[in-house]
């Protein structure tokens, strides 16, 4: 089964076609990487898939359901979660509450129940807090268990976003440059984390600039250039593609 199917997807900003008539399929359980030079349309694609943008044209199918134009919260309920290239952590909250926000769809977020703190909320919230603490440990953030988000360094915030995304118990996880700005050992930690997440059965769509990381973890790679598909295939195939080498890998190397 395909986790995601994108058919003739386009997104125009004025005259710019950030994503241009793009079609591809992401197999369930795979780690599917999307690479391409800056401005290739990777983030725009993630924004389309997660419902932040409505496409100008095309169809998105998620686990055999057409989800084109669905709102992000609706997609979240269907099992899609993501992180952001430009960190979107709630700095007004503590770290663990940020993670708990990720589990929002699994608890009763009604106002009435909240105002009266009904027993079922208290119970579910306590359970969610424990899950969030476990997730923080899972991504290696135990030491920030009681920290404010605003006190955390950049690398930790990147992982906090992953923990928050996982708190939704997603079936599909979109990661937009999770290793950007991280040093060597931090990148290695992220690699192990992505492999763990995929092993647990989550389909991962990975946008990343770090070629070593991409080649190590990916099942398949989609190469974008000017919003169009330049190449697609296994890491071996993509690495050997002359067009890719000319347009992208050659420049990076």
């Amino acid at each position: 089964m395909s986790a995601l199917e994108v058919s003739r997807l386009s997104k125009h900003f004025g005259g710019v076609a950030a994503v241009d008539d793009l079609s591809f399929t992401v197999e369930a359980g795979s780690i599917h990487a999307i690479i391409g030079p800056n401005g290739a349309g990777k983030t725009t694609l993630i924004n389309l898939l997660s419902g932040i943008y409505a496409p100008s044209a095309g169809v998105i199918t998620m686990m055999d359901e057409t989800v084109t134009g669905f709102s992000p919260d609706r997609l979240a309920r269907l099992g899609l979660s993501r992180t952001f290239q430009n960190i979107q952590v709630c700095m007004n909250m503590d770290a663990i509450s940020n993670v708990m926000v990720g589990g929002q769809t699994r608890v009763d977020s009604g106002f009435f129940a909240g105002l009266l703190h009904l027993p079922h909320i208290r119970k579910a919230d306590a359970a969610l807090r424990e899950e969030a603490a476990a997730l923080m440990a899972y991504v290696g953030l135990s030491q920030y268990r009681t920290a404010q988000a605003s006190q955390m360094p950049y690398g930790a915030l990147k992982r906090l976003e992953i923990a928050r995304a996982l708190a939704a118990k997603p079936k599909i996880l979109l990661l937009d440059e999770p290793a950007a700005g991280l040093n060597h050992s931090e990148t290695d930690e992220i690699r192990k984390l992505i492999e763990h997440i995929a092993k647990a059965g989550v389909t991962v769509l990975l946008v990343e600039h770090d070629m070593k990381l991409v080649m190590q973890v990916s099942t398949r790679i989609l190469v974008l250039d000017y919003g169009k598909k330049l190449a697609e295939g296994t890491p071996e195939v993509v690495r050997a593609d002359p067009q890719v080498i000319a347009a992208y890998l050659g420049v990076a190397a």
Partner: protein, 312 residues
């Protein structure tokens, strides 16, 4: 079992409220206390909207005014029982807030500030212009609050009723901010896009908290009208909206105790400062500026942060 800090806070607040009458306060002190209590409840509602959710409202006094005049007009001109008028005012205000919330709350920053400012001004003008019903800028008298043959009168009784309402407001608001719904509010403040991705219906939640805070303001406006037995359009005016916002900011954004401190401080300070006569507004302004420079998060969050840092 350990007592949660907010339960302890609620108990302390209840003790404090109950202790006040034991100091044998005079009528003036009671009157001030009642005004503090009314403002405090409104500010708690506004803090949910502004402090927690990050949605500014520069027209919140408009909602107070709608409650005030619903009660004043419906009881005076239509002989409605006060409690029914209060509920009708709250329902009408809630409905109005619901209708305007979606278009208004898609706006951000300055645009939202301007839109809510305009909303408040329009309400104030409408109340001023409906001379026939409201008496215009002269205001109108309002009958005492009665339920059946029972009349709520006397400073002590008003103080008791409003104390109970404040405790209820503190309890429910503390519950809310410590629930999934409250986390959604704070997540919207922190990052709307993150909240949406996490499954929060951002537009819907904004509408809910806007309507909630408007209804709270309306109810307090109704009670204020019956307490003062008088209504003027100033109740709904721009100046009052600004003072309410200042109470939130000085007391502390996203802080329930801060709402109480802000309401108390800004209600009482002008009284204390009246000894400065003409200098009153200047001293008032200086205090605000100094607070904002040294405690940009407001009094209560800043002080509690310092305390926790001292302890560790």
């Amino acid at each position: 079992m350990t007592i949660a800090p907010r339960t302890l806070g609620l108990v302390l607040l209840a003790i404090g409220l109950a202790a006040f009458p034991l100091l044998s306060p005079n009528a003036f002190a009671y009157d001030l206390a009642v005004r503090v209590l009314i403002n405090a409840v409104v500010v708690i509602g506004l803090n949910l909207l502004f402090g927690y959710t990050g949605q500014i409202s520069l027209g919140h006094a408009g909602f107070i005014g709608l409650g005030t005049y619903a009660s004043a007009v419906l009881t005076t001109h239509f002989n409605w029982p006060p409690l029914v008028a209060l509920v009708a005012g709250a329902a009408g205000t809630g409905l109005l807030a619901f209708v305007i919330a979606r278009p208004i709350l898609t706006l951000k920053g300055h645009h939202l500030a301007m839109a809510t400012l305009g909303m408040g001004i329009i309400i104030a003008i409408a109340l001023n212009n409906e001379m026939h019903y409201t008496g215009g800028s002269d205001g109108m008298s309002v009958p005492a609050f009665t339920i059946g043959s029972w009349t709520l009168s006397g400073d002590r009784n008003w103080y008791a009723l409003l104390s109970i309402l404040l405790l209820a407001a503190v309890w429910t608001a503390s519950n809310l901010v410590d629930s999934p719904a409250g986390r959604a509010l704070q997540a919207i403040h922190g990052s709307e896009v993150a909240a949406r991705i996490a499954g929060v219906d951002v537009a819907g939640v904004k509408v809910k908290v806007f309507v909630l805070s408007a209804i709270v303001a309306s109810v307090m406006g109704s009670l204020e009208a019956h307490y003062l037995e008088f209504a003027t359009p100033d109740t709904a005016g721009f100046v009052r909206s600004i003072i309410l916002m200042t109470m939130v900011i000085v007391g502390g954004m996203a802080s329930i105790p801060g709402s109480l401190v802000g309401a108390a401080l800004l209600t009482l300070l002008p009284q204390v400062l009246s000894t400065f006569e003409d200098g009153e507004t200047i001293v008032f302004g200086i205090i605000l500026i100094v607070t904002m420079i040294f405690m940009p998060n407001g009094l209560v969050p800043t002080l509690s942060n310092r305390l926790t840092r001292l302890r560790s």
